[in-house]
């Protein structure tokens, strides 16, 4: 192997170009030559794929078009799903009312724990499904590989491999398969960097937190506030990749060259789009039936016992007050601290916690309760903190499995915690200066 590596390096030096680039280029040259000799063509014709690529891969317009389309995707997921959320929420409100006043532990478990907690998270199934629907359309049309190609130029300069883009994009859905998808990256350093920054990509589990807070504080700009979290995630991912590449000796060096074969554009079929949407969205439903349900029960128990005492004196209150001093400089109270603590299990639990701790049902009521405990600046900082602070438990496990190292796994946790704190503190400080 050492000998092969030496020969490769010598050849690369001699030819003045990386073999990863030269070999496929030569392969395409030979294939082209064979096709020219064997096939007789009337003339080269302009295909629709050529025309669309002329624009979507344009040096100046490619990235703005990608960002504009992503903005449309998030606006669609947030704004169009609103009435459906309201309808499901009303259904859970009605179910909660069946138990009457939550005066006994059993009635409280039904109304506050199951309908108020789990039910409130389930309402967010709509923006999640709508997001996956829009991404499936982009994927099936053949646009997403173009987005990877367009972003490669920028990503290469920032120290990320072009092939990292697809795992990073998958991170918008769930970080778990996204981290597994880094296996397509051959270079071990590129792969490790992609794994480390992948949790910064805002997965769908964080969307309920954004929808709740953006709806409560940013009104007509809620869609833009949510979009800004995704942009922040991407920006931090590339910045951290650059920083790791420059500062960590094991990760130093240039990213390997990226070669990607672009498929032709196709008209997405309804069946394929719906199937993809369902396959990805059902993960959330499964999660709701398992970890979110268990989380709702645990949180309800912690916030209800000892039975009959005020909320602040419950076990959840004690935990929150123990954590509060750490988060107080960011403007987060003890309830926010409990929400973030349990958010490590699954990010949706952050919203579930608010539903249970505030003891009110319905998005509007919870939004009003949150608005009484936060300012728009602290809410934005909280959204950023939720985006960055920790990968969820399952992602933590997959980082350990894919890196095969506790050192890198703990490093991911440590840097994300520090980064979350720094970013949230910056937002709070900047917000205080600008808005007083």
């Amino acid at each position: 192997m050492e000998e092969i590596r030496r020969i490769r390096e010598e050849l690369s030096k001699k030819l003045g170009e990386d073999l990863e680039v030269l070999l496929p280029a030569r392969r395409y040259e030979i294939a082209g030559e064979i096709s020219r000799r064997c096939l007789r063509r009337r003339e080269e014709r302009l295909t629709l794929t050529d025309m669309l690529d002329h624009v979507f891969l344009h040096r100046a317009l490619g990235i703005p078009i990608f960002l504009a389309l992503m903005y449309a995707v998030f606006q669609f997921a947030y704004s169009v799903s609103e009435p459906f959320m309201v309808m499901l929420e009303a259904a859970f409100g009605w179910l909660a009312s069946l138990a009457g006043e939550a005066e006994t532990p059993l009635a409280s478990l039904w109304a506050d724990g199951i309908c108020g907690g789990l039910g409130f998270v389930l309402v967010f199934i709509f923006p999640i499904f709508f997001l996956f629907l829009a991404l499936a359309i982009l994927e099936d049309s053949g646009y997403l590989p173009r987005a990877a190609f367009v972003m490669d130029r920028l990503m290469y300069r920032l120290g990320l491999h072009g092939r990292s883009f697809i795992p990073l994009l998958l991170g918008f859905g769930c970080n778990l398969p996204a981290i597994m998808a880094t296996r397509v990256i051959d270079d071990e350093r590129d792969r490790l960097i992609t794994i480390l920054v992948n949790p910064l990509m805002s997965c769908s589990a964080r969307l309920p937190v954004y929808v709740l807070l953006a709806g409560a504080f940013f009104g007509a700009y809620a869609g833009a506030a949510i979009f800004s979290m995704y942009v922040l995630g991407i920006a931090l991912a590339v910045l951290m990749a650059l920083l790791f590449r420059k500062t960590i000796p094991q990760l130093r060096g240039k990213p390997a060259p990226f070669i990607l074969e672009l498929p032709p554009y196709l008209r997405p079929t309804l069946r394929s789009v719906l199937l993809k949407t369902w396959q990805r969205g059902v993960v959330f439903l499964k999660k709701a039936a398992t970890i979110l349900f268990a989380g709702a029960l645990a949180l309800w128990a912690l916030s209800s016992f000892p039975w009959g005492v005020p909320l602040e004196a419950t076990y959840a209150g004690m935990l929150g007050h123990a954590l509060e001093p750490l988060l107080r400089p960011l403007g987060f109270d003890w309830m926010a601290a409990v929400a973030l603590f349990f958010g490590f299990l699954a990010k949706e639990i952050v919203v579930e916690t608010f539903g249970i701790l505030y003891g009110v049902a319905g998005e509007e009521e919870i939004q009003a309760a949150v608005a009484a405990h936060m300012t728009p600046v602290t809410a934005f900082a909280f959204m950023a903190f939720t985006l960055i602070y920790l990968p969820c438990l399952a992602t933590f496990g997959i980082i350990r499995a894919e890196t095969g190292s506790w050192k890198w796994t703990l490093f991911a946790v440590a840097y994300e915690l520090a980064l979350a704190y720094a970013v949230a503190a910056t937002i709070v400080a900047f917000g205080s200066i600008v808005w007083g």
Binding site: R45, L46, T47, L48, D50, M51, L52, H54, V55, F56, H58, L61, P64, I65, L67, A68, L69, Y71, A72, Q75, F76, S79, V80, S81, E82, P83, V86, M87, A90, A220, Y221, G223, A224, F227, E364
Partner: protein, 150 residues
């Protein structure tokens, strides 16, 4: 029967027409994009033009697509029509998006979650600009067929 040369000449004339149409659409999109961004800063206020910076920037991206198309077509580059095709597609994406959002707002009003529903506010520039851009679609379709036949 027209000769190949005649068809090429005709197609050149048609491309000039697209260049003009694309330039006009680009200019209108740019104007509304700027107005939407300016409205956020409070420099401008008019109900049919929402104060929405992100959406305004998206309109500017559509404008840039149309204007680049116009530039390439005026320079005689046939491939410039690609920008017009993508411009119309982007206009359709944003038009459809805001139609869906208007329907969602109407549903919210019916559900009693919204206090008022203003048709003027819902009929955002993205919607009627998309309709204007869509008027170009049948001509584009024909021109593309011609181009691929020549």
């Amino acid at each position: 029967m027209k000769t190949l040369q005649e068809r090429r000449e005709e197609s050149k004339l048609e491309l000039k027409g697209f260049a003009v149409g694309s330039a006009v659409l680009g200019a209108v999109y740019a104007a509304f994009g700027v107005l939407e961004v300016m409205s956020v800063a409070g420099a401008f206020s008019f109900e049919p033009v929402p104060a929405d910076a992100a959406s305004g920037l998206c309109l500017l991206v559509v404008a840039a697509t149309f204007l680049l198309g116009a530039k390439e077509l005026l320079e005689g580059r046939t491939l410039g029509i690609s920008f017009v095709v993508v411009g119309v597609a982007l206009a359709a994406v944003f038009g459809l998006l805001y139609i869906l959002i208007a329907v969602a707002h109407a549903l919210m009003f019916v559900l009693g979650e919204a206090e008022e529903l203003s048709l003027l506010a819902e009929l955002r520039p993205e919607i009627w600009l998309a309709l204007a851009a869509a008027a170009m679609a049948p001509y584009l379709r024909r021109a593309l067929k011609e181009l691929r036949a020549i």
